[in-house]
């Protein structure tokens, strides 16, 4: 059996189909470009599956898929996003993230240097988040069928037993907090897209929230509900919440944290900042009594310094999300329809 000639060269500059074949090419790719950066106890045996020792109690399991374009954007890349997005889905449930699985689908032709940067980002994000990549998989698809790279993950966390996160715990009178400035991730990614390219100080807020949420759960009183406002932004989370709880949420536009740069960039593109994705923020609901305490706990953490109380829960029919506008009027916030396209008109 002849070895594929591509596999012999160690100066390959691009991913080729053979890299996904499971043979020598794959082994070499992973040995040279992936494993050394992600070393940990769970991964090192390189078995078909990772074996974890888990304490008794509840395990949290999540899965996620990442298809961001462009792959690299101000403030991060698809690798950072994959780790943080997965970790955050666990953290907002009140679970301590432990380990991730990572499946890479790479398009033939992706420069190896790009892969290297992304794997570096994965390693760095995992370290920052305090998690390990326990197991993984790599496939290669033909040119034109892969968008450069897509990543699928699964994540495992251990549920804290001192928190109970559930939307049905939310009561009228409860308070809604957001942990920092909104709209930065989505706008930063947009600014890097080809046909919209504009220079911006905006960088993605992508970050692992485990540390902040741990602080919040330990010191912030009784945390009733958390969610990270990713796709569909703040509007999406709040609209979902109103629908799930059957309660009205009233939000004050004046106090929603947003940087002038983000606000103006959204204006420029004709996009509502409330619908823009965030990757390093959390929406938190607590009782009115715990509001100040929860806010203070957030603000003591670097990722929560600009946390703010943005609204309150009411029993009011119909159950809506209502925005008290800067002008002092009102309007309803709804889930955005899907792709918010840049408007000029």
């Amino acid at each position: 059996m002849t070895v594929n000639s591509h596999a012999n060269s160690s100066t390959d500059e691009q991913i080729v189909m053979a890299h996904g074949g499971g043979g020598e090419s794959t082994r070499r790719l992973l040995a040279e470009h992936v494993f050394p950066k992600l070393r940990n106890e769970l991964l090192d045996p390189l078995t078909d599956s990772a074996v974890l020792n888990v304490p008794p109690g509840r395990i949290c399991l999540t899965t996620d898929a990442f298809v961001v374009q462009p792959l690299e954007f101000p403030g991060g890349d698809i690798g950072t996003l994959a780790v943080c997005g997965t970790v955050n889905d666990l953290a907002v449930m009140g679970a301590t993230p432990k380990a991730l699985s990572l499946a890479l689908i790479i398009e033939q032709g992706l420069p190896l240097t790009t892969l290297d940067r992304i794997v570096d980002s994965i390693a760095a994000a995992a370290r920052q988040a305090g998690v390990v990549i326990a197991t993984g998989d790599t496939k290669v698809v033909e040119h034109g069928r892969g968008d450069g790279m897509t990543i699928t993950t699964a994540g495992i966390g251990i549920m804290r037993d001192d928190v109970q996160i559930a939307a049905d715990r939310i009561q009228p009178g409860d308070v809604v907090i957001v942990t920092g400035r909104i709209a930065e991730h989505g706008l930063a990614v947009m600014s890097a897209r080809e046909h919209l390219a504009f220079d911006s100080e905006l960088t993605s807020d992508v970050a692992p929230l485990g540390g902040l949420i741990e602080r919040l759960c330990s010191d912030g009183g009784d945390i009733k509900f958390m969610r990270d406002p990713t796709r569909s932004g703040l509007a999406g989370v709040l609209a979902d919440l109103a629908e799930t709880t059957g309660l009205t949420i009233e939000i004050d536009e004046d106090v929603i944290p947003i940087s002038p740069t983000a606000w103006h960039a959204a204006e420029l593109l004709g996009i509502d900042p409330l619908t823009v994705a965030n990757e390093g923020k959390c929406v938190v609901v607590v009782s009115a009594e715990d509001a100040e305490r929860a806010l203070a706990a957030c603000r003591r953490h670097p990722l929560g310094k600009r946390a703010a109380i943005i609204g309150r829960v009411f029993h009011r029919d119909p159950a809506l999300v209502e925005l008290i506008t800067r002008a002092g009027g009102r309007r309803i916030i709804q889930r955005p329809y899907g792709e918010e396209l840049p408007r000029i008109c």
Binding site: H195, L196, L269, G270, P318, L320, E322, L323, I324, T325, R326, A327, G328, G329, R330, R331, I332, Q334, Y337, G338, L341, P342, R343, I344, C345
Partner: protein
Amino acid sequence: MEICGTHTVSLLRSGVKSLLGDVLRLISGPGCPVCVTSQGYIDAACELAARQEVTICTYGDMVRVPGSHGSLEQLKARGADVMVIYCPRDAVHYAAARSDRKVVFLAIGFETTAPATAAAIIEAERMGLENFHVLTAHKLVIPAVSALLSGGDVAIDGLLCPGHVSTVIGADAYRPVVDKWKMPCVIAGFEPLNMLVGIAELVEQAVTGRADVANVYGVAVSPAGNRVAQGLLSRVFAPAPAVWRAIGTIDDSGLELRPQYARFDARAELDVQIGPDHEPPGCMCGQVIQGKVAPSACSLFATACTPVKPVGPCMVSSEGTCAAWYKYGSSITKAQVGPQ
């Protein structure tokens, strides 16, 4: 009546409309460039999009508008090359970079946007491009307003005039409207306070029986407007009859390419026709954009016609009256029903 779709959206989004409540009735007029685009145009755009060698460059709003056989978004999902752009120059530069593609720019919008198309065509001419084309459906505000008022169907006390169109055409452009119909015309911008100042001025005029042109957006609008932009328009375009969705043809209310720029006209160069208008059954978009009925009067509103599954352009376009109502407060905003 607020003529401009952006005023409709801004009034709702800022919450100002909710503050005015029942005291004032705000009727949305024909100022949404997508809403007034004939369905024949949309079908022509889709026909071009289906051609393998064509790249359609368009503003975001057009992408979801349904034609007779689907929208550009749906065609894109089936492989059509549809590109959302922010500036017409993006289309020109793309054409320059890709001589293998036939680039068609969907030129819609009022006088705010038409000069940009004109400048893009001039740039394409200068670059000697043979693969850049424009499918025009630009519309003019004053002729449309005049036609609306001469129809005599809508009882309105004043016109809130579009601030950004007016930066181009100038405040003086409304003088004939005031003189002929004794209709107060106030030009306002889009910040909540500026819109309120404009509405206050309209109310003042209406109540005291005056009719005049008032410009509360002086920071951006001058009496004569932007002469350079007007020059670009008249160099490239000539007024022509235009089909306004469900209103019909209004003389001199649209723009056509002048003969010396005919080679940029997608219709002739790419052999595509703009067919007759036909409204989907049950759709009341035409009446909505004339300000004759409120969205809530349409039996399809929020039932068969929603932003996720729109029937007519008034729901698709972010500026469409129906989309604005649906999104920002149809249940809070008191129904603004037109004349019974």
